[in-house]
Amino acid sequence: MTAAVRKSIRDLTRRKARTFFTILTLALAVASVGVLAVPALMAESMEREVAANRLPDVTVTMAPLVLSPADLAALRGLPNVADVEPRALLVTRVWSGERRERAVVVGVPDFGRQSVDVVSIDSGVAPGAGEVLTDRNNASRKSFDVAAGGVARVIGSDGQARRLRVSGVGRNLTNGESDLSNDWITLYASARTVAELAGRPGVTSLNLRLRDDSRAAAERTVAAVRDELRARTAFTAYDDLPTIQEPGSYPGKDGFESLASLFGIITLLALVSALVLVSNTMTTLIGEQTGEIASMKAIGARRRDIRRLYLRTALILGVVGAIVGVALGIALANFVVGYFASLFFGIDAGVSVSVPVVILSLLLGIAGPPLAALPAIRRATRLPLSEALSATGSAVGGQGRLDAALRRLDRIPRSAQIGLRSLGRRKRRNLATVLQVAIAVATLLGLLSIGTGVGETTRQWFDDNDYAVWVQSVQSRPFGAEAEAVSRAAEGVDEVQSWLQNRVRVEGRDAEAWGLPAQPLMDTRIREGRWHTRADVAGAERVAVLGPTLARVTGKGIGDDVVVVTGNGPSTFRVVGITDNQTDNGGALFLPLTALQEALGAPGAVNNQWITTTSDDHDAIDRVTTRVEDALAASGEQVGTLVTYDLREKQVAANGQITTSITILGMLIVAISMVALVNTITMSVLERTREIGMLRSVGARARDVRRIFATEGFAVAVTGWLVGVPLGYGLARALGWAVGQTVGIDVAFVFPIAYVGLALAGTVALALLVMLAPLRRAVRLRPGDALRMG
């Protein structure tokens, strides 16, 4: 080992605390890059899950249809069809404690031979007659904690509860995946059990895997399946628009990727903060060595010799920091993926590594410190020799305008004055620390703001709804003619409003179409133009109101025509209004009820009811809901119900989970800023060790020394907070815009003053905590030892 390499290593081991903080900072910076791997790792996990589940490329739904093995074989024989798996779905209710919760029972013909949309068995055995599997998410997210061996009380279409033994725990990506708004209890049973519960046999959906999964090929296959079914059975039409999975997509992918784009913002902030800290630390490290550099120059070292020496030191730091950082980054990325995979999809993501991100992290970690050190090395090697060699015994400081301003604060105790005036002694480092604290404060304020805004928007959406109960038919099949009268007759019902919901395509984009009356039981929130009138409904006028996202992505405005494709073919509507309503993330299309019925070729068809109740009491609403469900079930309708107050609470809680997760990630930035603060105070103590010795020699007590450095630390922290508040306001605006662009929701902007106070309290408390160690070091220094150091 050469003397130069030994010097590099000794320079690092000589100042263990400083070296530790530098490596920690660099590791945090590198780890933050690791978060960029999250979308790719999630996609990888989901691809494995999709492959294991054999996710369908196309799903079509219909009224219960009995299919023989020959029928299924004929469907499998169609061009482009790789495999077909029938399912019989029953939407019902199940007793959970003393409440009846919405449930779906998925009927699987043969658990042992599933070719598409596989229901996996996590524990237990496949259900036999009179048995069910409970979905793995039922217990964790939906408070349905009947375990294997227990009994599920499932209500059949005749309104009677059947006791079905739970044979095990299963999971399925399509039905059990936890899109956070899905709070249906999911059970899996044999097709026979579902037929008994439903009171009729027959499949209600076909899941298809295709050889060519392109959109055009998928649409041709959908048409071919329809024709084949018409030819062989009593089938007439699909219930709803077929679901065609985009190649490479999976349920919930859009939502997760929108969230992941927010991660990118946080990663960028963390990276900027960490790089500033690394640069600052390298500058301090080189700056401390000015005397040594001068000595080397005095004995013949050239600039390139000195440059090489310190670049080597920086490289050693970089290698160690990069290795630690990559390990941290892998752990962090897998933690985030695991958390969101469980939260969103109820799956175990496992552990994996993104090689490109690891390579990027290593490059950043290794190259970062040398690059960051270059300006400081350049300054140090160009400093005139005489200046570098001179030792005055009094460090430089006190010469600028800031220092002059700070000298005016002479009413406070001397030790506090010394602490405040020290701010001007390492302006660059203190400024960098202020910036890092500011970034942390801004991030916290921005995240708190967006979290509150999302919650406000959610509450607003529910507040816009004037109904207490929303009744939906199973798989959008139309209600019978008497359904409205049946509901109206139930005790406690005040008003029933029937309407039609259907999935359509608008200008090539999937959308929810709501056919509504002229005065729906919701706030129409018209932003431009108008809502449709009674006359429009009476005349089945082809007019449309677009949701804000739909209007933006299609570019359609008032007076424009939009082509709406339904299961019955295309229809043209004229845009008369644009609403701020956030249904379907702002992507819904609102039509007069009669116009949608006409476009679907289904006059009089309705498949939803909004019900208001005579009482606002939650228990009363629950009772009305039960009565309506029972009455409709008795009249042969298969329905599910959404109770507004309950859904609102669950949605707000679900949104809170997401914003909490993002906030936890934002803690990474707070951690970096606190490391910066510890670094700054520690460096300050280390640099002024001899000065501490002098202060103790002239009578300073421990509390005086503590006050000096604590004042400096608090001043940096509070200044960072002051700068961070306006930055946080700007970031809150930017995050709101980003969420709007990616998720399609117009998030309400909130920036409460209370959060600003909370950020200050948090900054001061954290500053106090992280300064404990360096302050303890400062006061424990013996004067003799301190004077010998430095």
């Binding site: 015994g393 009094s394 030790s415 001007g424 202060l695 103790r696 002239v698 003799g784």
Partner: protein, 261 residues
């Protein structure tokens, strides 16, 4: 209290030392030194000091016995590494002995806590460092009154006046508002001496106080120390300069960690 010094209580738990009389008298009015003092001001008995760095142990002092009377002007001399500065550090409490006793002004300072030592030094000892050790962000006046700010022995409004008089004593009254970087080396050392005089301590200690000054300035500085000794302060200093050592009334030679006879 023959010299009208403030009788500060040296208990480190006290927040406000009790001031019997403020140090507001001009220097010239102080009482002469009491030469009839029975016990020496400084007494070291069997003092040893070892430093350990890694596995290496270095014995800086190997059993030093010495006494210094109040009012003396003593030079501590010896070759480099002999332990001269270590002896000074023992006397000021900046370092602790690994064996032996150190008694200064009647107090066993080897038994005092760090807090007690800090308070005691602020009131009873003025230390002058070779490299001045002024705080760069404080003016000359503020540096000069720093010990008073820590000891709180003098009311706040009187501290500038005390510091100004000490600056006048060292010939820098007109540079009170200057920062250290605006002063020459000699001027900075004068400010350091003014700081050492802040609490009017009975003992002034300097470790190579003129070591960083040119010969002319060094002579001026030494003249100042002599004047301070003449008015009653005990002055103890380490020096390599034979001429300066010769000007002391007494010389203690340290060699290989022991006092040379």
């Amino acid at each position: 209290m023959p010299r009208g010094m403030p009788a500060t209580r040296l208990d480190a738990t006290e927040t406000e030392p009790q001031v019997v009389s403020a140090v507001s008298q001009p220097i010239a009015e102080r009482s002469p030194v009491d030469e009839g003092r029975e016990t020496p001001l400084i007494e070291l008995r069997g003092v040893e000091k070892s430093y350990r760095t890694g596995t290496v142990e270095y014995r800086a002092l190997r059993g030093v016995d010495l006494t210094i009377e109040a009012g003396e002007m003593v030079a501590v001399v010896g070759p480099s590494g002999s332990g001269k500065s270590t002896v000074l550090n023992m006397i000021t409490g900046i370092d602790r002995p690994t064996a032996g006793t150190v008694t200064v002004d009647g107090r066993r300072i080897d038994q005092m806590t760090e807090e007690e030592l800090a308070v005691w030094r602020g009131a009873r000892v003025g230390v002058v460092f070779q490299f001045f050790q002024l705080l760069p962000t404080l003016t000359a006046l503020e540096n000069a009154m720093l010990p008073l700010d820590f000891s709180r022995a003098v009311p706040r409004r009187e501290r500038p006046e005390v510091a100004r008089r000490n600056l006048e004593l060292v010939g820098l009254a007109d540079r009170a508002g200057n920062l250290p970087f605006e002063l020459s080396g000699g001027q900075q050392q004068r400010v350091a001496i003014a700081r050492a005089l802040a609490a009017d301590p009975p003992l002034l200690v300097g470790d190579e106080p003129t070591g960083n000054l040119d010969s002319g300035t060094a002579v001026e500085m030494f003249d100042l120390l002599e004047r301070l000794n003449a008015r009653g302060s005990t002055v103890l200093y380490v020096t390599h300069d034979r001429d300066l050592a010769a000007r002391a009334r007494r010389t203690i030679t340290i060699r290989d960690g022991l006092v040379e006879d």
